[in-house]
Symmetry: C2
Subunit: 415 residues, 2 copies
């Protein structure tokens, strides 16, 4: 998933170090011989790369694999304990900050109500102060990943005009954060960050065709196709929340009609509960998240009207899955964030809709699951963005203790 | 766009030869230094690769670039005249076979009416005989590309259950064709083949975020995102024809409801003309293609009812473009095949719908165009599939005249 543009010998070395780190990150422990074979590198080239990464502390040796005894069969692994990253997740009403090790384990999570601040500018200032305080308190924080709601225009740095994000629209995330600290800050659309988290932190490395379907205050999607994130020209691909499921349906602030987001996002559910106060009477006093949880709890206690609403939400979430199958054909769709907390009843209805509307061959080969990442999964995606950046740019973070002379003569390093 | 699985030194060499060929194919003429820089290869490694490709006739030297005079600034280019390929396009009612050089120029095109044969099996036999006759008549044909309507299940070899392809459903294209001749046969979904053709044969190499929107008897889509084709797990991604634009709309044989294909494919248009015979009275006697052309000609002559129908078709084609923008965010959508022959009036309406329904930032950055490939563009896609295979597997087609010893010691080849 590395993107390289300029190319010289220095870049080539960095590119191959990054590929080696990424391979090890996904496979846990591997020998030099296994890595060289998988990455189409000669043993000599891989030996040079692994020496550099070992000497800089980016990787460690884990001992012999399968008792072969020679140097090429010693296990290598990423040194995930050396550094920490921060993940920051922005949603309409919530800002979460998490401290993570490089394995993606949360060490602490803080939550701010964005709505406590009169303006986005004040919320942004508070986030900056909070991050600085965390960086004073904890050592070895080397990068910050941020997850923002889509459509996020990557090159420009701000989100496009959509209903559920109006308050953040005036914020240029790149301008605000990119140079705010003395460590790199990387900003990504939230569902794509979630897909990266599923891809990086899945305990059993599986297929590389994965869709992360984010059902939060907005609805987003991140898709990894054969190991590559689908980005689109401006970084606004896979905006499932603004794909229409009904060209004659409810108008959306994005300009489209019948956007999925208008039917099954936490905001749409909260709107529904505010219109009909007989279901969750104190709905207007609740946050979007609290209102959804109140509905799901009612349904869980057997309230038939709440169950009907959950079923209707599941139907629309299912329509979205049908589109995801036909548009992206992933082998796994992971459903996460607020609306996923409706749990099995929602998932059952989603699977039912998919069975009704998707080609049988695709139904059989597409797993649809609820996210198994911990409850702070939202902010975990932001951390994944930072970790992916480190794996992509190892030399910015890891400096060898003994400097090797990076000549083009491979024989110097051969053993 | 190379997919490599096993990995040893032999594969590594082939992989780098393929990358070099692909770079040259896209850039026309480049120096060794330019290629080495772009592909992250050392000058020594690139020199070895280019010697191999020159010696096998895969590439040629075109003379000095920018008068620098040294060997590394001599232009290299793919030798597109050495071989020819066949492209075979299957549609519901038509089978087209084209003979192409490696630059993608058609040298001859033959058309069979599939409906002339009582069964698909007999049509398949006729195609095989036709291909064998062409191979006897013309020399240097080294590969055959085939384009079949989607959803095409790549690993299994047949198309999935959908209305516009019922007659082909029982045909296993892989089993029928993969070993039918003594040259490789490569089978691809038709719209993806069309996207490859746009990508390979575009006279001005442009951005690498391209969608080819095939409006034929069926509706298909092929998307290239940052230089990679989006395939999905089974090869059935980007099936825009079966993405619903109206979950309460017309049921489709694929199981879904409101599939785009039911509103603006050539088959849907022909169905409409057969229902209301007052527009094109002899419609039932025409092929799908002929019926559409008759309608477009009426509209062109100022028939207001025909114009209204073209406008309605453009509206639905536009809804599809809106979904393509939100799902794939390409920088260019190329509209091709039968329905594209409606020309500018259709394109105007499509652009109007996109302006109404897509975020302004995306409208500005997404070009929507009619295909500029020659009228036999359909079969050109099939040829592109064969040519891409050759670029991916150079050693199966090009053998060096002087055999180089492929040791890992680069110094042998250094100059």
């Amino acid at each position: 998933m590395t993107t390289q543009t300029a190319g010289d010998q220095q870049n080539l070395s960095e590119y191959n170090r990054s590929r080696t780190l990424q391979y090890l990150y996904h496979h846990g422990i591997a020998s030099r011989a296994q890595i060289a074979q998988a990455l189409h590198l000669t043993p000599a080239a891989l030996s040079k790369i692994s020496n550099h990464l070992l000497s800089s502390g980016a990787i460690i040796e884990t001992g012999p694999l399968e008792g072969k005894g020679n140097r090429r069969s010693i296990g290598l692994a990423v040194n995930t304990g050396q550094y920490r990253v921060l993940g920051v997740k922005f949603a309409r009403s919530l800002i979460q900050i998490g401290l993570f090790d490089l394995a993606g384990s949360a060490q602490a999570v803080w939550v701010d109500q964005a709505t406590d601040y009169p303006t986005p500018a004040e919320a942004i200032d508070a986030v900056k102060q909070h991050i600085r305080a965390i960086m004073r308190q904890f050592t070895n924080i080397v990068a910050i990943g941020m997850a923002v709601p889509g459509p996020y225009l990557r090159s420009v740095g701000h989100t496009a005009v959509v209903s559920s994000m109006r308050q953040w629209r005036e914020v240029n995330f790149k301008a605000e954060f990119e140079h705010a600290f003395d460590i790199p800050v990387i900003i990504e659309q939230d569902a794509r960050a979630g897909a990266l988290a599923q891809y990086l932190f899945d305990p059993q490395p599986r297929n590389e065709n994965l869709a992360y379907y984010l059902l939060g205050e907005g609805i987003g999607l991140g898709v990894i196709d054969h190991g590559s994130v689908i980005n689109g020209a401006l970084g606004t691909a896979t905006e499932i929340g603004h794909v229409s499921v009904d060209v004659h349906g409810i108008p959306c602030d994005c300009g489209n009609v019948g956007c999925l987001e208008r039917y099954c996002s936490a905001v749409a559910i909260h709107d529904l509960l505010n219109e009909d106060r007989t279901i969750v009477p104190d709905s207007p006093a609740l946050t979007h998240h609290e209102a959804c949880i109140a509905l799901f709890e009612l349904a869980g206690r057997g309230d038939t009207r709440a169950q009907e609403i959950v079923r209707r939400i599941g139907t629309y979430v299912g329509y979205g899955c049908v589109t995801i199958c036909n548009a992206f054909n992933p082998s796994r769709i992971v459903i996460g964030d607020i609306v996923a907390e409706a749990g099995e009843p929602l998932l059952d209805r989603v699977r039912e809709v998919v069975r009704e509307r998707v080609l049988p061959e695709l139904v059989e080969s597409t797993a649809i699951e609820l996210s198994t990442l911990p409850t702070d999964a939202a902010v975990t995606g932001a951390a994944a963005v930072a970790i992916m950046y480190i794996l992509d740019h190892p030399s910015r973070f890891f400096t060898p203790q003994t400097v090797h002379n990076a000549t083009t003569n491979h024989n110097n390093q051969e053993r």
